[in-house]
């Protein structure tokens, strides 16, 4: 055993002293104040989001914002949604918070707004309305808590069926205008051993996509009442939606429920899958993954028999922290966010739709959806994920995931009964 001769290089005392100094240094550095505990530099506003890949888009939008409000954006992204929520919930109560925060609308916004961690930005909505940038009462309602607005729309996505244009041509089918035509495409693809629809959700929120689509498609008003806690999950329209969903599974319409949307570009390119119902916010990711703009199409799903045409929308929130270091500047930026020049820069990056209907990115699939929405004056409903209290939604989404594994009529009955039991409990908790 060759022992190291410390006396030749350094004394034991020096070694111990430097070790203690190092440990003390580490301990002290862990107590240091973070960058968010100080105001951002002069003309900069800090912005917190759960999506680091959006940073360059925020910088593009920030360059336009600096002309209007005098402030540009310094985005910081936390890639994990759960971690992000914890950080915002904790930091927004302290002086160590960002000026601007990305959040979710509907009940998720109300959940934090009523706790007082967000600033009132009603003036931004008033200005957008006055200037004609956004006159959308339904969308505005989903940003409202106790009659005031607590964020401006980051984007406005529609849930539409993406499809592979080359594959549709190969199958000899066209964009469906009725439910029967849609079923014909499903049957044609299935007969050719092509997965008609990619639909994941075995372990994720995506299990709510087809549920919200079918309930809203069958009875739009019922969907609004159901998500507001005024109707029961065991009522007829809900049970009917589960029957239609179950029937689609029987027809072989869907992929295995553990499919991932990130596999979609490959599946479309290889001709293995024909369609996928998803939010238009995913368009950029699909194109970045190699799908060609010319090969990607999108349409609104026709309503099932007895239903009416309607579309599910989703909107992110740009909120101002109540404890923001530069609260006035952040509020001015929120007022300027919906300016068309900012929206063009932002949606050009995102390749999704803006809350301002006049701003549409130059992407074929998105333009097709927007044109259909505007032409048919389609009623809109807030996405299920944000449409009811978060704890209720999270639990029900898990029930829907379990249904996707065993999509039988008996499991459907159990699923709606379980969802209703949870609804009764969680609405009571929400209102208490």
């Amino acid at each position: 055993m060759g022992l190291i001769d410390l006396s030749r290089t350094t004394s034991r005392r020096a070694l111990l002293a430097s070790s203690f100094a190092g440990a003390a240094g580490l301990a002290l550095s862990s107590c240091a104040r973070g960058t968010l505990s100080r105001p951002a530099p002069a003309d900069v506003l800090s912005l917190f989001s759960d999506n680091p890949s959006w940073n360059s888009g925020f910088q593009d939008a920030g360059r336009q914002l600096s002309r209007l409000s005098g402030y540009r954006l310094a985005p910081q992204g936390v890639p994990n949604v759960s971690n992000y929520q914890q950080i915002v919930r904790m930091s927004a109560q302290t002086d160590s918070t960002a000026d601007l925060i990305k959040w979710w609308n509907g009940y998720r916004l109300r959940d934090v707004a009523r706790a007082g961690i967000l600033a009132d930005v009603t003036a931004a909505w008033d200005e957008a309305d006055r200037r004609g940038w956004c006159r959308d009462p339904a969308l505005r309602a989903s940003f409202t808590s106790d009659g005031r607005q607590y964020g401006v729309p980051l984007y406005k996505s529609y849930y539409a069926v993406f499809y592979s244009k080359p594959l549709f041509a190969r199958l000899g089918v066209d964009v469906p205008t009725t439910w029967q035509e849609f079923l014909h495409i499903v049957d044609t693809a299935h007969a050719r051993h092509i997965t008609p629809i990619a639909a994941g959700g075995a372990t994720s929120w995506e299990s709510s996509i087809w549920f919200q689509q079918l309930v809203n498609g069958l009875d739009h008003d019922f969907y609004l009442d159901l998500t507001a806690g005024k109707r029961s999950y065991t009522d007829v329209p809900c049970r009917q939606a589960m029957e239609v969903w179950s029937d689609l599974y029987r027809r072989g319409a869907f992929s295995s429920p553990d499919v991932s949307v990130s596999d979609l570009p490959g599946r479309f390119t290889q001709g293995r899958t024909a369609m996928c119902l998803y939010g238009t916010w995913n368009t950029g990711a699909l194109l970045d993954a190699g799908l060609k703009n010319a090969d990607l199409g999108a349409f609104l799903l026709p309503p099932p028999p007895g239903g009416n045409r309607s579309v599910v929308v989703e909107s992110g929130v740009l909120a101002v922290s109540a404890n923001a270091h530069k609260r006035q500047a952040a509020e001015a930026t929120a007022r300027a966010w919906l300016d068309p020049s900012v929206q063009r820069a932002w949606t050009g990056f995102l390749r999704d739709t803006s809350a301002d209907p006049s701003v549409v990115p130059d992407v074929g699939a998105v333009r097709e959806v927007v044109a259909q929405v505007q032409k048919e004056h389609v009623p809109q409903a807030v996405r299920y994920w944000e449409a009811s209290p978060p704890v209720l939604i999270e639990g029900n989404v898990q029930d829907l995931s379990a249904f996707m594994i065993d999509p039988t009529p008996s499991q459907a009955a159990k699923t709606v009964a379980s969802m209703q039991r949870r609804a009764e409990k969680e609405w009571k908790a929400w209102k208490s």
């Binding site: 759960s82 971690n83 929520q85 914890q86 919930r89 904790m90 109560q93 959940d111 934090v112 706790a115 961690i117 075995a202 372990t203 994720s204 295995s256 429920p257 553990d258 499919v259 978060p390 704890v391 999270e394 898990q398 029930d399 995931s401 379990a402 996707m404 594994i405």
Partner: protein
């Protein structure tokens, strides 16, 4: 091993001190100085345990008495614990955790023992051992990613089965309970057997050659040699391996989170996942704290009961 030796020495020292207490009395000043020195050496460890374990546990236990959404909190007493008892998801989570404990006790420990004995003294043993140990060097998330590609419905396992004409054997491996929990235990076994193997190899090297030789002269061989001589000699190392397996399985999180996220629904959740979901997904900090208190109680109770039974001072040896 070290604990036993130290404990034995302590027993001997205490007995010796007691015998010599009457005639020779140690000077009081020396005793105080010794106590100060002992305290000084113990203080860093005690402070670390207090700061990193005891205080957080006390805070968590206190928090479990509140209905807390991360922004506002309301005292509710033991209501979170009462909710736990009536929550069917918690029952399933407890059952899954028991499956993990049994599965990871049976598979990695037995396989590690068998592989260590079988490869200990054979010519190409090192190659076999390396193959088993390599997965242990992978991180939990890398392992989970690999097994996701294998076990997805259109993953490598099902594609291979289809390619070799065994399409009828294809399964939705991760979508149905209890199959998903079983295959995740198998995935964990693949990764963790290497650790058990290494520890058992160390144990095998500590068995005196004379003991084996004596047993051989007495006619012991094969299975008899393994069961009657090697296994009893490996007892101290088995205590360590089994103890580590129990604690690791009770806090199983990463592989389940990455493979199924506890789903479909909550079908494959373990206690650690339930704690995470309640706290960080549902923002029910009080309820999540209650789950973590229960989990801590289970881990401590299981470890204490097991070690109390297995690790006893060797009084006979000290006499």
């Amino acid at each position: 091993m070290e604990v036993l030796t130290t404990g034995t020495k302590a027993v001997v020292t205490r007995t010796a001190n007691r015998r010599s207490e009457g005639p020779v009395r140690a000077p009081r000043q020396g005793g105080v100085r010794r106590a100060v020195w002992v305290g000084a050496f113990l203080a860093p460890a005690v402070a670390l345990v207090a700061a990193l374990l005891v205080v957080p546990f006390a805070v968590t236990a206190y928090r479990s008495l509140f209905d807390d959404n991360g922004i506002t909190a309301r005292f509710v007493g033991l209501a979170n614990y009462r909710s736990l008892l009536t929550d069917p998801d918690f029952g399933r989570s407890l059952l899954n955790t028991v499956m993990w404990v049994v599965g990871t006790l049976v598979l990695p420990v037995l396989l590690g023992l068998l592989l260590a004995v079988l490869t200990h003294s054979v010519r190409w043993g090192a190659v076999a051992r390396t193959a088993v140990v390599i997965p242990y060097a992978l991180s939990g998330s890398a392992t989970a990613l690999l097994w996701t590609y294998l076990l997805k419905s259109d993953g490598a396992v099902n594609q291979t089965l289809s390619a070799v004409g065994l399409g009828g054997w294809q399964q939705d491996w991760l979508l149905h309970w209890p199959l998903n929990t079983v295959v995740m235990i198998v995935a964990t076994t693949w990764q963790s057997t290497g650790a058990a193997l290494l520890l058992f190899l160390i144990g095998l090297q500590t068995i005196p050659a004379e003991t084996i030789e004596a047993a051989r002269i007495d006619g012991a061989q094969g299975l008899q040699m393994f069961l009657k001589v090697i296994v009893p000699q490996l007892r101290p190392m088995t205590v360590v391996v089994v103890g580590m397996s129990i604690v690791n399985s009770l806090k199983t999180f990463d592989i389940v989170w990455l493979l199924t996220q506890g789903g479909p629904g909550t079908a494959s959740e373990t206690l650690a996942l339930t704690m995470y979901r309640q706290t960080f997904t549902l923002n029910r900090y009080g309820y999540g704290a209650a789950v973590s208190v229960v989990l801590t109680a289970v881990v401590v109770a299981a470890s204490w009961l097991y070690l109390r039974r297995q690790v006893q001072p060797q009084r006979g040896g000290a006499a």
